[in-house]
């Protein structure tokens, strides 16, 4: 009896989970389906979830009619730069975990405090600083402000503190330089954190929208998101093109996420949010 109740309960839970999940999926299904629709199928009533005459022309148009090649290139540059930032974060985390220097704790608390500041407060002054440095409308201006982040530094530090100092001492006695210790000893040990932060960094850079929108006035510097928002504004009625653009932005992220999702979920456990 009790066992049967348990089965019914489990069945109910699964049913709830599936219904909720399908509802969450609706926009994605709608997007993918629509991205293959020819333009005349958008005004059909009732709307079709999947196209009756699928076509690739929307995707082709993104690259032929629009400048998505340039946007893609810019986005990939930002992704690459953000990985440099990832190493800077790791280095800072390493220093906080394993070195003693004056004001270490104060610096660390200040860095943590920066997490509290809303983006809207720093947005305008950061723009003024970038302007003062004559970096408006340059890739450097887009990339620099977001290069390092307090959360990543915090995560690297937390993880690196647990590594025994003897290991570093041993490497030093063997005559290894500090940079060599960092790259050949520390980096491999903290691979799990790199995995998590790497994915989050990639997602963040791939999706970067607001800052490039503010800093880049020139179409040559637009990212995919900015390009897509342009598409939304100028080609508001060309749904096929819009849906293909959206799918082009979303699908790679989902694929990467499915591959690495285990690491992300572990990452939250590592960071000690329990």
């Amino acid at each position: 009896m009790a066992l049967r109740m348990k089965h019914i309960e489990k069945g109910l839970m699964i049913a709830l989970l599936i219904i909720g999940g399908l509802l969450m999926m609706v926009p994605f299904i709608w997007m993918i389906g629509s991205s293959f629709k020819p333009e005349n199928e958008f005004t059909v009533i009732p709307p079709t979830l999947f196209p009756s005459h699928p076509t690739f022309s929307n995707y082709r148009d993104l690259f032929v009619k629009m400048d998505f090649v340039i946007y893609l290139k810019n986005t990939l540059i930002i992704v690459l730069c953000s990985f440099v930032g990832l190493f800077l974060n790791a280095m800072a985390g390493y220093a906080f975990a394993k070195f003693d220097f004056p004001g270490k704790n104060k610096f660390f608390y200040i860095i943590l405090a920066t997490m509290m500041i809303p983006g809207q407060v720093t947005m305008i002054p950061t723009y003024l600083i970038i302007n003062q440095l004559h970096l408006v409308n340059t890739m450097a201006g887009i990339v620099l402000p977001g290069l390092v982040g307090a959360f990543a530094i915090f995560l690297f530090r937390q993880f690196m503190t647990t590594i025994p100092i003897d290991l570093l001492e041993a490497a030093r006695l063997d005559g290894a330089g500090e940079l060599r210790i960092f790259f050949q000893l520390m980096v491999p040990i903290v691979k799990p954190v790199f995995a998590v932060q790497g994915i989050l960094t990639f997602i963040g850079a791939w999706n970067s929208f607001l800052w490039p929108l503010i800093i880049a006035n020139d179409e040559r510097l637009y990212t995919l998101s900015v390009g897509l928002s342009l598409l939304k504004g100028q080609y508001g009625t060309e749904f096929g093109l819009q849906m293909a653009g959206a799918a082009f932005m979303v699908v790679p992220i989902i694929i990467i996420f499915i591959f690495f999702q285990k690491h992300i979920i572990e990452g939250y456990t590592i960071s000690g949010i329990k």
């Binding site: 305008i124 600083i129 897509l228």
Partner: protein
């Protein structure tokens, strides 16, 4: 040597900006001031006084309050519910649904806006079609002032379940199995286990999620920016969007900076209240 690049960048783009923001919030800095610093003059508290007389700003405060009051409880309850469901089993089914619920959180806001804009479309959208199946009249999802707010909340709700669910899931996995086994020996039922073991032990996660969600909704920004630009009739204008508009559309840097400090102070106050409430709970 290891620390210098990160500290310099953080100082330059996080700490110095605060000081600059505070400074310019007391000036009349605008586009002219950007080109020629000598034309900037002090404004005292004028920005702060004017902003509280600005009907658009007051409207944005009201809207932000609506977003918070509806959005925060919805997101916290739903993400906890989903996490509990997902924690129920370990098979492939549960693992795949974990991915499905998380997916909206990692997707690009512009892409989301494009897709949802089409879902909400008055003539060809899916939502109105579904309504018509049930014989309900079509809605102007993004054009009706009241409905537009709710439409944006629905979108943001969809987008923010995933991340918070992961936090709850991590917390659930940290609860030792032995607690449940002990309770089962004492004859506790599923509901009792949930109420007396799981929910209390999720206390810290709930607190964390509530604070971050609350701060997130107070800064509600990207959804109205890309979906409605604050319209119709400023009905979806949030405080953060107001700051952005004044700063980057109208180039009233000093005024916008004052607005950003009002926002900052609200966030600090709300966070402090949260911590005070939390402390009381622990003592109890």
């Amino acid at each position: 040597m290891f620390i210098a690049p990160a500290v310099i960048l953080l100082t330059l783009f996080s700490i110095i900006p605060i000081i600059i923001a505070l400074f310019i919030s007391f000036t009349d800095m605008d586009l002219v001031g950007l080109a020629d610093y000598s034309s900037i003059s002090g404004a005292g508290f004028a920005n702060y006084i004017n902003i509280f007389k600005d009907p658009v700003f007051l409207k944005s405060m009201y809207n932000t309050m609506i977003y918070v009051v509806i959005g925060v409880p919805l997101v916290v309850a739903a993400s906890m519910g989903v996490a509990l469901l997902l924690n129920y089993g370990t098979g492939w089914l549960f693992k795949s649904f974990r991915v499905i619920y998380y997916m909206p959180s990692i997707t690009n806001i512009v892409a989301v806006a494009v897709v949802w804009g089409y879902l909400y479309n008055g003539s060809y959208g899916l939502f109105n079609y579904i309504l018509s199946i049930f014989g309900l009249p079509a809605q102007q999802w993004l054009q009706d002032p009241t409905l537009a707010k709710l439409s944006l909340i629905l979108l943001a709700f969809w987008k923010s379940i995933g991340l918070n669910m992961i936090i709850f899931l991590a917390a659930l996995q940290g609860i030792p199995r032995s607690y449940y086994e002990a309770a089962e020996i004492d004859g506790a039922t599923g509901w009792k286990k949930l109420r007396f073991i799981t929910v209390p032990l999720l206390g810290f996660a709930t607190f964390f999620v509530t604070i971050t969600t609350l701060i997130g909704w107070i800064q509600f920004f990207e959804e109205p920016l890309v979906m409605t630009k604050g319209g119709p009739l400023n009905a979806t204008m949030s405080m953060a969007l107001f700051i952005y508009n004044n700063g980057f559309q109208l180039s009233k840097f000093g005024y916008a900076a004052a607005g950003s400090f009002v926002l900052f102070i609200i966030i600090i106050i709300v966070t402090l209240i949260q911590f005070a409430v939390k402390k009381k709970e622990v003592e109890y």
